[in-house]
């Protein structure tokens, strides 16, 4: 049974890594946040997969539900920030967000 844990771990790690690569390479603010969402998918898969293979599916389920609620909050805040940034700078380029430095 434990073998399947690594199976889920593998896919979760792939998702998280894809998200991080996206964060490093993409420049559009919305795209960056989509990359964050991909990481979040990897994490929820990891949580539930772990619960599934360890026979703790019910606990894992509650964790995932809570995690999704947190995610919604975060998405709302982040997108509100992005819209505000767009209103101020008329741009979604993360490279232009470099006024604070030093």
């Amino acid at each position: 049974m434990t073998n399947t844990w690594y199976f889920y771990l593998f896919f979760a790690a792939a998702l998280v890594f894809a998200g991080i690569l996206g964060l490093l390479l993409r420049r559009n603010l919305i795209k960056l946040f989509i990359a964050i969402e991909v990481i979040a998918k990897g994490i929820s898969l990891l949580l539930l997969g772990t619960g599934f293979v360890k026979d703790n599916i019910l606990v894992a389920q509650t964790l995932v539900v809570t995690f999704i609620v947190v995610e919604v909050s975060l998405v709302a805040t982040a997108l509100a920030l992005i819209i505000n940034i767009y209103r101020q700078t008329k741009s979604l380029d993360v490279r232009k967000l470099a006024r604070l430095k030093g």
Binding site: Y6, G22, I34, F52, I57, V64, I68, A80
Partner: protein
Amino acid sequence: MIVQTALLIGLVLFSVLAILLRDLLKSAISLAAASLLLGIIFFRMNAPYAGVFEISVVAGLITVLFILTIALTKAGDEVRESRAANWVFPLFFIAFIIIDALVMKGLLRKIPALASGAETGTFGDVLWKGRTFDLVGQIAVILAGVFAVLALFRKRDKHD
């Protein structure tokens, strides 16, 4: 098991697509598709509530929020993504997949784990009797999100 694997591969593919696609709307939709697949995977793992949440909230609500944002910021000029990303991303990703597979294979049976007893009861029991504090946290995080959005979209009558 094969179906599950196929679903997982699809999930990864759609997620990668969501990052790689140039058009924002398309990548938001492929993210939604990935969420849908994840929801189905959850269903197949005997986690119906998580599946429902994933499909309705993440594939539904969050996608709507993304599309709304994309619409609100549409007037701006397109961001020039770096060209390097087109080949760097697949290269690194494939390399990582290989490392990932090797590590997971190597780790097999190396990590000791406690065998856990089977759970009893229903989802409701676990939620209410096991993890009630999370509910307080959920309320708090929803309040935080609501207030954050209110604060960020308030009329700036006095400042600036």
